[in-house]
């Protein structure tokens, strides 16, 4: 396969190796180029619909698909607060910080952490 950014040719197995430090390789819909570390979704129906939480508009809802980060700290933080794949998340506000609702709780979070939460939009 070929990297969409730098054009480097590589085998999918090499891509998996470049994700070695990431605990999520199994559920992750992204591939990472071993040359430039650019990440993009694999071409499949489902993963094409995935967007980071940050791109939900105010009032839009999404179903959390995966939490995609190699930083264990962030992962720990997100999942220990009970934000897990399968849950429906609604964007309440976007400014000055993101405010989201899951169930009956609201969470304030910044882009820095929200970008790792991948969701599929619900219409």
């Amino acid at each position: 396969m070929k990297c969409k950014l730098c054009g480097y040719q590589f085998d999918i197995k090499q891509a998996v190796q470049s994700c070695a430090s990431c605990p999520l390789t199994k559920n992750c819909p992204l591939v990472r180029c071993p040359n430039c570390n650019y990440e993009w979704p694999l071409d499949s129906e489902e993963s094409n619909k995935l967007v980071p939480l940050t791109s939900l508009k105010k009032g839009e809802k999404g179903k959390i698909s995966t939490i995609c980060t190699s930083q264990t700290e962030y992962l720990k933080k997100i999942i220990s607060m009970g934000i897990m794949p399968g849950m429906t998340i609604e964007m309440i506000r976007r400014f000055p910080t993101l405010l989201c609702q899951i169930g009956f709780s609201q969470f304030a979070l910044d882009d820095e952490i929200a970008k790792y939460i991948l969701v599929s939009r619900i219409n």
Partner: protein
Amino acid sequence: MKIIERMKNINSTKDCCHDENVCLSKEYNKIILVGSPNVGKSALFNALTDSYVTVSNYPGTTVGIAKTTTSIEGKNYEVIDTPGMYSLLSITEEEKISRKIVFSYAKDIIIHVVDAKNIERMLPLTLQLIEANFSVILVLNLMDELDKYKIKINIEKLGKKLKIPVIPTIATKEVGVNELKTAINTYRKLPQKQILLTYSARIEKKIEEVIKLPLKYHQQSLRSIALLLLQDETTEIEFIPVTKTFTSKINIIKTDVENGKSYPFLYEIALARQQKATEITSHTLSQQNSKKTSIVDELNELMINPWTGIPILIVVIYIGLYQIVGKFGAGYAVDFIENIIFKNYINPFFIHTITSLIPWKIVQNLFVGEYGMLTLGVRYAVAIILPIVGTFFFVFAIIEDSGYLPRLAMLIDRVFKKIGLSGRAVIPMVLGLGCSTMATMVTRTLPTKRERIMATILLALAIPCSAQLGVLFTLLVQYPNALMVWGFVIITIFLLVGYLGAKLLPGNPPIFFMEVPPLRLPTFSNIIIKTYARIVWYLKEVLPLFILASFILWVGQIIGLFNLLVWGLSYPIKLLGLPEKTAVAFIFGFFRRDFGAAGLYDMHKAGLFTVNQLTIAIISMTLFPACIAQGLMMVKERGKKMGVAIFIFCITAAFIVGFSTNLTFILFKIHL
């Protein structure tokens, strides 16, 4: 009068010291309250024990642990309230404290308090606690909010599924507390280990492997410990002593043989638990959809939107800080207590009694002299500082209970990011406007060491505490220009030091992520009790220091050390362009910033300052660390080196800024 009873009990509830295990008694059975922040653990603690822990509508109010003994149907228990914890995988320091307590008293009763409507999100912790084989009781609190959202929970079925007692409560109204007490007294642990949740074959195999390793730990919780070890670095699980060889063995287990990478245990285990929790709730919870926006939602929106949020903030500051604390507390209340009660009754009484009891002038001075323990120490603490701090705590209690602070945190996050902090730091900062010592303790709730250091520095340097603010405002209110210069300099220093600190300190920039609780109407009794509890804390902390300060000043004056210090300080003070006598106030300032400010107040009343001098003196004084108590708290929280370094930094900065302000005044011929 329940309130009065509780007030009496405040002293029996103490905040515990840093090393929790040392101070828990060994004689009683324990009841440990755990759960996520803001679900009502402290309220339940109060209801169970009739004593008082601070309860507010802000996640993370309990820093350190609170404990008290109580008798339930004739049996004595020690009840322990722990800081909020989302999961056994701890992130913040306070969560680690809670986890350590839970595992240290594994044989006692653990009450997991959850917010009933959010049970699906909170059940994973229940599962973890059951997994660790603790004697768990699940308390569904805030049951009254279920009706609002039209949710029904089948409690009996839930209990059967989890195989533990499940008790519904409304802790603030003491509903369900008797049932809980009965459940505690009749608790019978199931004889054999039971596994509620099995993971994938692969994880189960790994659990087996970890259990086989030689590890000294309670047999009963081994499965849970093994899971923790799989999910996290051994260094993060500080309550289990491990050797290096053990760590490397664990790491081998965690690594996949085939491709040499780590298994995604953390994620997989959490996912499995969540699935179990969802499955359980889907069988026990029914909900009718009702989505309507209320006035509360509108208000929420107004507070967070910067266009309306900033005006609201200004109104809150104006009414709360300026009108109530400034005008009422520092103005009327101080005036009344100081000029009428103390001047006319108490001081003459002290002076009369002491002079007739003690014939020696020098000993008389210890009590009623210029720096006398009674005429200065007690007077400053009770007449000048107490009314101000008291009114601040009252206002803060209202703000805290309403749930405004998390909204403020959101509003201000972007600004705080520039100074190396996240919106979360708004709580210690606002609390710092009340009492910097208390606020320094609360910095514990910040997630990273870097943020904790930044917050401590800014608190010590540029956040004046209410006592000091009150005195300063009374001084500066007559000179609007001086007030503006002061405000400008302090805010500039706050932002500048923050900005530089954020650039210079190593580590990642902070991230902002917090749960925002719903807005709630504060209850009057809770506000009164809370204000009272904080005042008691304050007096206990402060009055002895004031008296100690008077004593040291008295000794210093006799042996001449005091004059030496004044003389030593007089040179830097001259550089600031201040009258020499300011040195005395500054030395007071080393003990307590507000003590020093009160000294300035006395000097100003005697007409010793020009307005320029007053402004410079007040700016320098504001930048001092608040008091000896704050210094001690910094050492305790940040360690000796860091604490002392911050202290010295603040004093140096105070002089440099004072000096530069004076220079600016002279150069530009400014007369305020």
